[in-house]
């Protein structure tokens, strides 16, 4: 089929799009054209920052994939559609992707409402929706075309609880969490694990994403007399809470979920995030080669910028997509089946990632116990703060 000329190909794809993708997809494949992934995510709107971070991670991974010879000689590329994390737009994008024969797989969306509203469309059309930041426990229950490398909170939170309770010896915890599906699910897993390890939960407070003022919340925390604060937060709100906690005179140990792991957390938090403990999936001095390659490559490509957790998720996701496409080729169903076949894909977050076919998620995230020392994330040396 490599002798189909370009004009025929374009006309063919247009016709296929017009007819609603009824035409067989294999017929328009051409080895000179890149293999195209569709990305649905926020580039404008309130979550725009995460879409930009995705792009950074994707682009780095794609550079490396191309340098290593691409996918059996073909280039891998993505087409990013801005959804503003709005379900109304993500469903339209989903229809666009499923009826575009060039798209072999979809990545995203960012928020659960946007991703899960589009899931029925991807499932019915038979296009894989690879929701690599979708930790909502029901995301992969949308169907056998929904796969996720988002670290399951059932995995991550016990690790954080073990850091806080077993390693730091905290016995009475105040939990502050983002009141979203992610924050709420995480909180429940955290509390269960912490209780199992013998800690007591003094108070839990859920806050909305737009919140900036936490002083009154922190008075409630203070009155409950905890010996440690646990933040199930993103980096911007996590930094705000840490700052205000110090301002209202709370001196307790602060322990935060991996989602705060970002140079922005240090920049926004300043002195207040000194000695904050963070359970993460990787850290800069991690000797693992995949981590060193990722960090060095990222700094080189982005003028010395330190990568953060969302960059890493996107980087891993693109590498996973490449591994899957290598096995599955460009047929959408074969790609779905390839997810079950990929083994031990090198991953910053998991070390090596292999899907659990039942849950369509990856288990066994890596664990690193970090602490902020002198304005930098460092491996915790076991000394109390």
């Amino acid at each position: 089929m490599s002798n189909i000329d370009r004009r025929t190909l374009v006309r063919g794809s247009l016709a296929a799009m017009m007819a609603g993708a009824a035409i067989s997809r294999g017929a328009v494949a051409d080895t000179s054209e890149p293999i195209l992934l569709g990305v649905s995510g926020p580039l404008t709107g309130p979550n725009a920052q995460y879409g930009t971070q995705w792009k950074q991670g994707f682009d780095l991974a794609l550079d490396e994939i191309l340098a290593a010879g691409g996918i059996n000689g073909r280039k891998l590329a993505y087409h990013f559609e801005d959804s503003q994390s709005d379900p109304r737009q993500s469903v339209a994008i989903a229809q666009k992707f499923v009826s575009d024969p060039r798209i072999v797989m979809e990545l995203g969306d960012f928020s659960s409402p946007a991703s899960m509203a589009a899931s029925p469309i991807y499932q019915r059309a038979g296009l894989v929706q690879f929701g690599f930041t979708n930790s909502h426990p029901d995301f992969t229950k949308g169907g056998d075309f929904m796969w996720s490398t988002s670290v399951s909170q059932a995995d991550e939170q016990p690790l954080l609880a073990s850091y806080a309770v077993k390693r730091l010896g905290l016995k009475k915890l105040a939990v502050l969490h983002l009141n979203t599906d992610w924050g709420r699910t995480s909180r429940d897993y955290f509390i269960n694990a912490a209780k199992e390890y013998g800690a007591e939960i003094a108070v839990t407070e859920g806050y909305i994403a737009e919140e900036r003022d936490f002083r009154s919340t922190l008075v409630r925390v203070r009155d409950s007399n905890p010996d440690g604060l646990v933040l199930i937060s993103y980096y911007s709100d996590g930094a705000l809470i840490a700052r205000q906690a110090r301002q209202v005179g709370l001196k307790q140990v602060i322990c935060a979920a991996s989602s705060v792991y970002s140079p922005k957390f240090l920049e926004l938090g300043g002195d207040a995030v000194e000695d904050v403990h963070v359970g993460t999936r990787y850290f800069p001095e991690d000797p693992r080669p995949e981590v060193q390659k990722f960090i060095a490559g990222f700094k080189k490509k982005y003028a010395g910028l330190e990568p953060d957790a969302f960059n890493a998720y996107a980087y891993d996701a693109m590498n996973m997509a490449a591994a899957v496409v290598k096995i599955g080729g460009t047929d959408r169903r074969a790609i779905r089946d390839a997810f079950a076949k990929v083994k031990d894909v090198s991953s910053v977050i998991f070390g090596t990632a292999t899907f659990d076919v039942e849950s369509r998620r990856v288990k066994g995230a890596m664990n690193a116990e970090l602490v902020v020392r002198k304005g930098q994330f460092a491996l915790w040396d076991g000394k109390p703060t």
């Binding site: 559609e81 801005d82 409402p113 938090g269």
Partner: protein, 607 residues
């Protein structure tokens, strides 16, 4: 007990922060009777100019403040001159839409220039902390309080004792009379916008330093809280805005103290509704003050609607009905499905806002009520989906009317603010009422649409279904407008005193309009729930309410066909501009502004 002292201090501190925005809003409202939705964007611009000054130019604090104030004032003057002045003789509602468009444009410009990543904005004041109660305050708290109080005081003196200040107040009281007395109204407006923008910019700078964090999402939140504080204090009353802000801060802080953090905004908006119902002019309005809105309905000026011949409508309806049979992509169909769903919401809003004059800014709440009703009926009680969607309409009609009824006695902008608050309250109740709504986890696995046992799964069948429902609702609404009831609605909109004199019971008619409108919105929400299969409290947010209002104004208030044309336009435009990637919302904002500028009565005119 010492905790209560801490809660009080914290409430005052955050109230202090709100006051900076509220004062600017109050000033503009006082003169132009306009809720300036762009105030939050000027605040954003100020914060980022401050970042450039502090981080890149290393200016000392006084110079930073002057730089930010001057640049923001220039932005304000540009907005006034090019965005709002051309609209001063058009419909009263056009400037409101223009400020929404301006805020889109400004927010996007900032985002494109500085990237959406949050940035640290370090405070330039020495880091000294003073112990008060259990916590500490820093010099920035004092500076913010100082700026807030000083500006309120200066404005008070300016308005009361300077000649330009008198001109401002005269203009506020009666624009035409002021012009007859030789007041240069344009100069007054310029002065007000300049001052308010300077204040807005400086507040963005200070608040950014206070949290050591600025990001492009801060603008809408600032506007929301500022509007609440301003209205609580009495719209257009500058010292009232300061006291209103402090009160808002206190109520939020005590709300957190008693019920916990997730109830915080619930209390802010309940306070607002309570104040509006009990003292619609705000807590600090004097009894002598003239009513804040005109007695007769100049808020929505009648215009001549564009007459579309019946055959053209029929032809358009037929063309859209057979569209799925033509070779169009599912993407186009899905986009039009979104347009039809928005169209149902717009029909609802154009009835209550356009026909009876209750401009609602919380209409997404009706969608949410419908969506949750339909989802829960079909999931928990196994009601067939077709019936559940009708149930959604009925529930939205009943509950929506009940919730909005306290605002029936309000007029003009106050209705908008009350409905905005009610919309937020509904969303927060959904978030917190976990036993029913499953809170932030949301409801997943909602069954797809089905009719008489046949599942509607293909985009084609969903298209026909939603198009059909919308057409039926539109026809019903067209019948309604032509009936005696429709004429009564318009009589209330145009002159409620005259309408009352003719024996119309205002509340009853407003309730009827909301029942009909609530049904349409509820059905739209219900269908959306089954389409998405997953909903949570974020699915139907404030942006949806603002979008719906934009559609309605764009199409022409009260105009049934206009609502549908507007929906297709506003769903379609951002999709058409997809090619422009990050720039598409910017282009959308500019197109919106141009439409308001050249067709302020809407594409098809007010009916």
């Amino acid at each position: 007990m010492s905790s209560w002292l801490d809660y009080t201090i914290n409430g005052l501190i955050v109230g202090n922060v709100y006051a900076l925005v509220a004062v600017g809003l109050a000033l503009i409202f006082g003169v132009s009777r306009l809720i300036n939705f762009a105030q939050g964007s000027i605040y954003l611009v100020g914060a980022y100019i401050g970042w450039v000054a502090v981080v890149q130019l290393h200016t000392p604090l006084p110079l930073t403040i002057i730089l930010v104030a001057v640049t923001s004032a220039i932005v304000g003057l540009v907005i006034e001159r090019f965005g709002l002045r051309p609209l001063q003789n058009s419909v009263r509602i056009a400037p409101l839409l223009a400020t929404i468009g301006i805020s889109f444009v400004l927010d996007q410009l900032v985002m494109l220039t500085f990237s959406p990543n949050p940035r640290a904005l370090p405070s330039q004041l020495p880091d000294v902390r003073f112990q008060i109660g259990g916590g500490t305050i820093g010099p920035l708290d004092l500076l913010i309080a100082g700026v807030g109080l000083t500006s309120a005081l200066l404005l008070f003196v300016f308005l009361r004792y300077s000649k330009l200040g008198w001109a401002v107040r005269a203009t506020a009281q009666d624009r035409d009379a002021a012009m007859q007395m030789g007041v240069d109204v344009n100069r007054v407006n310029q002065a007000v916008f300049g001052i308010a923008a300077a204040l807005g910019g400086v507040s963005g700078l200070l608040v950014g330093m206070y949290y050591n964090q600025i990001d492009t999402a801060m603008s809408l939140q600032a506007t929301l809280k500022g509007v609440v504080a301003e209205v609580v204090g009495g719209a257009g009353n500058v010292p009232g805005a300061v006291i209103g802000s402090l009160l808002l801060g206190l109520v939020e802080s005590y709300g957190v103290a008693v019920f916990g953090t997730s109830y915080r905004n619930l209390f802010a908006f309940l306070l607002l509704v309570l104040v509006l119902v009990l003292r619609p002019n705000g807590l600090f309005a004097s009894a002598r003050q003239a009513p804040p809105e005109p007695l007769t309905g100049t808020f929505i000026a009648p215009s001549r609607p564009v007459r579309i011949p019946r055959w053209a409508l029929l032809a358009a309806a037929a063309a859209f009905a057979i569209l799925p049979l033509l070779p169009v992509s599912f993407y186009v169909l899905q986009t039009l499905i979104n347009a039809w769903l928005l169209g149902m919401l717009a029909l609802s809003l154009t009835l209550v806002a356009g026909t009876i004059g209750q401009v609602s800014l919380g209409h997404a709440a009706l969608l949410a009520i419908g969506a949750y009703t339909s989802a829960l009926l079909s999931l928990t009680f196994a009601v067939p989906v077709g019936l559940a969607v009708i149930g959604a309409g009925l529930m939205s009609a009943a509950l929506g009317t009940l919730l909005i009824s306290p605002s029936f006695r309000l007029r003009g902008h106050y209705v908008s603010i009350a409905t905005l608050a009610i919309g937020e309250i509904v969303s927060l109740v959904i978030l917190n009422w976990e036993s029913v709504t499953r809170g932030p986890i949301g409801i997943s696995g909602i069954p797809p649409l089905s009719l008489f046992g046949h599942e509607l799964i293909s985009p084609t069948s969903i298209y026909w279904f939603s198009f059909g429902v919308m057409v039926v609702l539109a026809l019903l609404q067209g019948r309604l407008l032509g009936s005696h009831l429709g004429r009564s609605f318009r009589a209330i909109r145009d002159d409620d005193i005259a309408a009352r004199a003719y024996g119309l019971s205002l509340n009853r008619y407003k309730a009827l309009a909301f029942i009909f409108g609530g049904f349409a919105a509820g059905v739209s929400g219900g269908i959306a729930a089954h389409l998405y299969s997953y909903i949570n409290h974020e699915t139907f947010n404030t942006q949806q309410s603002i979008l719906a209002l934009t559609v309605v104004i764009l199409g022409g208030l009260g105009n049934v066909v206009g609502a549908i044309v507007g929906s297709v336009a506003l769903v379609g435009l951002p999709e058409v501009f997809r090619i422009a990637a990050e720039y598409r919302i910017l282009i959308y904002g500019i197109v919106l502004l141009l439409l308001v500028r050249f067709r302020p009565q809407g594409l098809l005119g007010t009916m």
